[in-house]
């Protein structure tokens, strides 16, 4: 007598949705980036001109990539935090701390590699602190990270004793202004970090778990996820990213400016993530799209610089473009797009 059996194996998972290249180019972020770049080109015909000079590429487009790199790196960490329905306001201050740490150490005769590791370690520590506040003490992320946003800049000033600590260490300067394969070092770092982070979250279950925590932290916990451990990892990673950005901006000006390094960049990073389509309500996220968001912001900044507008218009132009991008991404306009004949779903 055989009992009826039920086949408990799951049905074959659906094949990943085919993503033709055309789909990528119809994303609002890509359209926005291309549009901003074209406007820049119209304002300044030499915008796309890239020349080879002193063993590296040289041109406005390279500037966009290079200047966009610090915010792009912040955005990589910020994307994951926001995907867990959190936010990290402290990344700008952590940049200042990291730069201050590295600069102060090398000017006191500590070898540069140690100083770099110490700076990264400080960033990790800052991120871990945020994570502890959010998980163990269960403080809302916006408040928990506000603590370090306000106090962090003071910490950085304590480290530099209020001075702009200048240095001439070749390794630190290389991180900020060096080049590899003709591309500026910050761009290389950002690309490597973006690819590594994307692979880690998408080739493992980590991305899915982060999204699960973001959609519903309690449900995720009841489903057996170690939500707190995940949150700790995510905030620590954001601190690590901020430390890298801090090293870059310090190396760029050959000095640690505790008052101004990374000032308001947390807001640019959040904006980049939002432009990249990650919702502040948590859940689905995309790291490459956030990096694209950072590039859109920087394309505007660079465009304004070379356009010759008077500086009073900077913020007006920027906000107008951002409003347009966000409206294009809104659910209503997405529905409108779908109704257009020939538009892909």
């Amino acid at each position: 007598m055989t009992r009826p059996t039920v086949d408990l194996r799951p049905i074959q998972p659906p094949l990943p949705r085919p993503r033709p290249l055309a789909h990528f180019f119809t994303r609002p972020q890509v359209i926005a980036l291309v549009a901003v770049l074209l406007v820049n080109w119209a304002l300044f015909p030499g915008f796309f001109t890239i020349t080879w000079q002193d063993g590296r590429f040289f041109g406005s487009l390279i500037d966009v990539l290079n200047r966009g790199a610090p915010v792009a790196i912040l955005a990589i960490g910020m994307t994951m935090v926001i995907a867990t329905k959190g936010v990290d306001l402290s990344v700008g201050a952590v940049m200042a701390i990291s730069g201050a740490t590295a600069a102060t150490l090398v000017t006191n005769g500590i070898p540069a590699p140690v100083a770099v590791l110490a700076a990264l370690g400080t960033g990790i520590l800052c991120g871990f602190w945020n994570g502890i506040l959010v998980t163990v003490l269960e403080i809302q992320p916006i408040i928990a990270t506000l603590v370090l946003m306000v106090a962090g800049r003071g910490l950085a000033q304590l480290i530099t004793e209020g001075y702009i600590v200048t240095f001439s260490d070749p390794l630190l300067i290389f991180i900020g202004t060096g080049s590899f394969l003709g591309l500026p070092m910050p761009v290389i770092i950002a690309v490597v970090l973006m690819i590594a982070a994307t692979l880690i979250v998408r080739r493992t279950a980590l991305g899915l778990l982060i999204e699960a925590v973001g959609v519903n932290r309690s449900a995720a916990r009841f489903a057996g996820l170690k939500a707190n451990a995940l949150l700790l990892i995510v905030y620590t990673f954001a601190g690590f990213c901020a430390a890298i950005s801090g090293l870059i901006v310090a190396g760029d000006i050959r000095g640690a400016d505790a008052n101004n390094a990374g000032l308001w960049l947390e807001l640019d990073a959040i904006l980049a993530v939002v432009i990249g389509g990650t919702s502040l309500m948590g859940g689905r996220f995309s790291i490459p799209m956030a990096v694209l968001g950072a590039l859109i912001i920087q394309s505007m900044n660079t465009g304004i610089l070379i356009s010759g507008f008077s500086p009073e218009f900077n913020l007006v132009v920027k906000s107008a473009v951002i409003i347009v991008i966000l409206v294009l991404q809104s659910p209503i306009s997405a529905r409108l797009f779908r109704r257009l004949p020939g538009a892909q779903k």
């Binding site: 300044f44 030499g46 500037d63 001075y163 702009i164 901006v249 000095g255 101004n260 070379i306 500086p311």
Partner: protein, 323 residues
């Protein structure tokens, strides 16, 4: 520790220079100083120079750091009044809201001297104010450029301070006044660098790209030295020589611009002196000794420094002041 050492060094240096001239006069006077905070290197230098000046004159200086908050300054001033100090120095963080507390000081017969910034309100609330003329600073920088460029065609790019801030508005105005009527000198581009090194560098990079790789730029005028330091790096990155291919003129006279001058990368800077307290103490002394009320607005000198003015010496002299 370093801060204390450098402060002590700066104080010692200054007192050596000054002790001969001011042996008596203000000896033993108690003067309260309500400082805004230490938001910039210049502010830190002002604090350390004020302490050095007071020490050189034998003044007992009561120092209060307001950490950018007016209520802290008002509290500090009330504290000074309660302690019965002889005079009060204030670097006001904002221009409004001082009537009440300054009236209290006036009723207590304590003279008040404003440093660095002015206030709105009746002028009889304070004895005098010591400040720099920001329009003049811009004019001095512009006049240097006019004198040094000659009749050659010269396109100038400008790195402005924070949009809407008074130094940015006034330094721009003064510079434009100096260039007025000179057909060969034109400001071709002007953008804000927010008074910071990194923005100064980024804006200059953009200007260089937009002006044919920098070939169409003959000079850069920065509203402060930090932006000039950033611009110098951008010029170097573009394969040009700052100081000769592109002239660099800026304002403030912080140590790092003198280091750039030593390297031949900066051409001129106009000093915003951190010594606002010296003239204030002089005015107080004259007021107490002779009973003469000083003029209401004491304007500090806007001195021009070029590589001919011993930049290495200036660098060493300033490095310890807390910039």
């Amino acid at each position: 520790m370093n801060v204390i050492k450098t402060l002590a060094l700066g104080a010692g240096l200054a007192s050596l220079l000054l002790s001969a001239a001011y042996a008596e006069g203000l000896q033993g006077k108690v003067i309260g100083f309500s400082q805004i905070g230490s938001e910039s290197g210049w502010r830190a230098a002002e604090t350390s120079v004020t302490k050095a000046e007071a020490e050189a004159r034998g003044i007992d200086l009561k120092f209060a750091d307001a950490q950018q908050k007016q209520e802290n300054q008002i509290k500090a001033i009330r504290g000074f009044i309660a302690q019965g100090v002889d005079a009060i120095l204030v670097a006001p963080v904002v221009a409004t809201g001082w009537e009440e507390v300054l009236t209290e000081a006036k009723e207590a017969d304590i003279p008040v001297v404003l440093l660095d910034r002015g206030i709105e309100g009746p002028e009889d609330l304070y004895l005098t104010s010591v400040a720099s003329d920001q329009v003049k600073e811009g004019r001095v920088a512009g006049e240097w450029l006019v004198a040094n460029v000659g009749d050659k065609q010269c396109n100038v790019v400008e790195l402005q301070g924070t949009v809407g801030s008074s130094p940015a508005i006034n330094r721009k105005q003064g510079f434009e006044e100096a260039l007025a009527g000179k057909a060969n000198l034109t400001i071709t581009r002007s953008q804000t660098g927010d008074f910071t090194r990194s923005k100064g560098k980024e804006v200059m990079e953009g200007f260089i790209k937009a002006e044919d790789g920098g070939k169409n730029i003959c000079a850069v005028y920065a509203h402060n030295d930090d932006m000039a330091v950033g611009a110098i790096q951008a010029i170097k990155d573009a394969g040009l020589k700052p100081g000769s291919d592109i002239l660099v003129v800026s304002i403030d006279a912080v140590p790092d611009i003198f280091a750039a001058m030593v390297a031949g990368e900066a051409n001129a800077t106009v000093e915003l002196t951190p010594n606002m307290a010296g003239p204030a103490f002089d005015a107080l002394q004259a007021y107490w000794d002779a009973g003469t009320a000083p003029e209401k607005f004491i304007i500090t000198e806007s001195k021009l420094y070029t590589p001919a003015d011993d930049p290495q010496g200036e660098y060493d002299r300033r490095k310890g002041l807390g910039y």
